[in-house]
């Protein structure tokens, strides 16, 4: 009520979300101690950011969908389809660079709109819609590429993800940061963003409050699809080819990043920076364990444990308020 109280409450609220940030720094600290010379190098830190980028971009789209109360399992397949399409139009001497760029994002957007329309007007559980479209889109990627990687792309195309800004900062990181910044703005500042929370929080209330719930749903799946298209473009550029089997189970990583970061699977709650932290945690664990030369089978055990423990710390942190 008073200004004082408001800022106190605000501090309380944001402190609550800090659990996972603390968990993140804990993980960092452990890795720095275990591998001071390798892990903590500036170049390796940039490397981690780069490795977090594609998942981070997908997770951002996923965050919108999950906050609205949905789920999008189709992003991994969309990454593959968009990548295949991008590479197909990126052969040297054929089309200007803008063509593969535009097409891949349009393909993603189209997939997203289709998901959104079916979820909104078909009234089908999003899990089923996107499970179906995940399968369909994977089929399309295989058909579009005739089941084989599409390679022989231009240097300029390779440079989309592979280039650097100011010599040190990879384009991928710039893309990640830009997507994050724009998404954070849309989610926290705009009418649309606010309505995404409202729809996920209580759909009936949202409708009675004059919100066109269907439009919001179509909106979030479009964002997710669009960003999956972008991620597909970036992945194709990064692996200098369009691979129809790429992006498998990327949806799980994207969901994991969002949920580790505190986005509620039942919708209505979640913060953009939580999702960023979630994506970073996943990348850091992968990078750290590789550097420590942990055998890949043990890596699985450690990764799974860290994910659970990180969220446990987060939950317990909140509970102690």
């Amino acid at each position: 009520m008073t200004k004082n109280n408001a800022s106190k409450q605000a501090r309380l609220n944001s402190f609550r979300e800090l659990g996972i940030v603390a968990a993140f720094f804990l993980i960092l600290a452990v890795l720095v101690i275990l591998s001071p010379n390798s892990f903590a190098r500036p170049t390796n830190l940039i490397n981690i950011l780069k490795q977090a980028s594609i998942n981070g971009i997908l997770a951002t789209g996923m965050m919108f969908v999950i906050i609205s109360g949905g789920i999008d399992l189709s992003v991994g397949s969309t990454v593959a389809l968009a990548g295949v399409i991008a590479a197909t139009y990126a052969h040297p001497g054929e089309y200007p660079l803008v063509v593969p760029i535009a097409l891949s994002m349009l393909v993603g957007l189209a997939a997203g709109i289709a998901n959104g329309l079916i979820v909104a007007f078909g009234n089908i559980p999003p899990f089923i819609v996107s499970l179906g479209s995940m399968t369909i889109i994977r089929g399309l990627a295989l058909i579009a590429s005739n089941g084989q990687p599409v390679f022989n792309v231009t240097k300029a195309f390779e440079n989309i993800a592979g280039g650097f800004v100011l010599q040190y900062i990879p384009h991928l990181v710039i893309f990640f940061l830009s997507v994050t910044a724009i998404s954070a703005f849309v989610l926290t500042r705009t009418v649309f963003g606010r309505r995404v929370y409202a729809v996920g929080g209580n759909e009936a209330t949202a409708k009675v409050s004059g919100i066109n719930v269907n439009m919001i749903k179509i909106g979030v799946y479009s964002i997710s699809g669009f960003l999956a298209g972008l991620a597909g473009l970036l992945l194709a550029s990064r692996i200098v080819s369009g691979n129809p089997t790429a992006g498998q189970s990327y949806e799980l990583d994207a969901i994991a990043a969002a949920v580790i970061g505190g986005v509620s699977m039942t919708g209505g709650a979640g913060k953009w920076y939580g999702t960023v932290i979630g994506a970073l945690i996943i990348a850091v664990i992968g990078n750290g364990l590789d550097i420590l030369n942990v055998s890949s089978h043990f890596q699985l055990i450690i990764k799974g444990t860290i994910i659970i423990v990180a969220v446990l710390l987060d939950v317990k942190g909140k509970g102690n308020q």
């Binding site: 390798s38 190098r41 170049t43 390796n44 490397n47 780069k50 490795q51 594609i54 295989l142 590429s145 089941g147 084989q148 990687p149 390679f151 022989n152 390779e158 592979g162 992945l235 990064r238 692996i239 200098v240 080819s241 691979n243 129809p244 089997t245 790429a246 498998q248 992968g286 990078n287 590789d290 550097i291 030369n293 055998s295 890949s296 089978h297 890596q299």
Partner: protein, 281 residues
């Protein structure tokens, strides 16, 4: 005294395990250290791992690539940094990005497998193909090999051709379903042993083993056992251990500044009931 890095596409079958073991054993023998990076079948992850390793500083790279072109820029960067690169088992799309390729010619493996099957069934009748994940180098090469052989056998027709993604239970269900159509199959030719064993089970369950011959590739221990029992007609070894030891050996040579051939090919070996005992451990 930097370590070497070995990048492998995954570590979840007999083939990749044998390759890894060969490399680590050879490294120990040579008195060098090697770090194993498992990409879990994700091409982007492998690229990240190469970047991470190069960033850490390494003496040399042996890589079994997930994706034949995806790793090229990363390898070029490594080479530019003066790190020797040996590609093992699967070719990359740009040979110059590596110093050496150690491996097999997958088309030849497919040819050998198909030729054996074609001869066994007397050059005519229906066959079915079980393919690896579409787009993988091994799937493409081996399947191309099948069709090259079929050019010489006009009376053999391909009744079914489908991917079972290297997975035994997928192959099993797929072949069960094919058999329901009552098609008179003479042979099932699989891109690898895991799938051949699934096919074998389906055919045995349908009590058709006396009519349908089954072929695999990789010479995995369970496939060898099945060949010895006379259930699997043949499998093909790609001399995995030789590939691994050669690759490790080569990269160390390169690191010492020695010259090596840009391509070292290892032969496939056909394994049937007749010679299986030489391969059983």
């Amino acid at each position: 005294n930097k370590p070497y890095a070995f990048f492998i596409s995954h570590q979840t079958n007999a083939f990749t395990n044998e390759l890894t073991t060969a490399i680590t054993t050879k490294a120990a023998e040579l008195g060098v250290e090697v770090t194993v990076y498992d990409a879990e079948k994700d091409p982007a992850k492998q690229v990240s791992q190469i970047e991470t390793a190069v960033n850490q500083g390494i003496a040399g790279i042996v890589i079994e690539p997930v994706s034949v072109d995806g790793v090229v820029p990363a390898l070029e960067a490594a080479k530019a940094a003066g790190i020797p690169v040996v590609v093992v088992n699967q070719r990359i799309s740009k040979a110059e990005a590596a110093d050496c390729f150690v491996g097999v010619e997958n088309v030849d493996g497919g040819k050998l497998e198909m030729l054996t099957a074609a001869e066994d069934i007397g050059g005519s009748g229906n066959v079915a193909f079980l393919l690896g994940p579409l787009g993988s180098d091994a799937q493409i090469g081996r399947t191309d090999g099948y069709y090259e052989v079929l050019k010489d056998y006009p009376d053999i027709s391909v009744a079914f051709e489908q991917t079972a993604n290297w997975v035994t239970e997928e192959a099993l269900a797929l072949v069960e379903n094919w058999l329901q159509t009552g098609t008179d199959l003479k042979a099932i030719v699989a891109n690898n042993d895991g799938m051949a064993l699934g096919a074998l089970k389906a055919v045995e369950d349908a009590k058709l083993l006396d009519q349908i011959k089954i072929y695999g590739l990789d010479a995995t221990p369970d496939a060898l056992a099945a060949v010895a029992d006379g259930r699997l007609t043949a499998t093909i070894s790609q001399n995995t251990t030789v590939q691994g030891t050669t690759a490790m050996d080569t990269v160390v040579k390169l690191a010492k500044g020695e010259k090596v051939d840009p391509e070292i090919l290892v032969d496939f070996v056909l394994i049937t009931k007749d010679n299986v005992n030489d391969f059983l451990q």
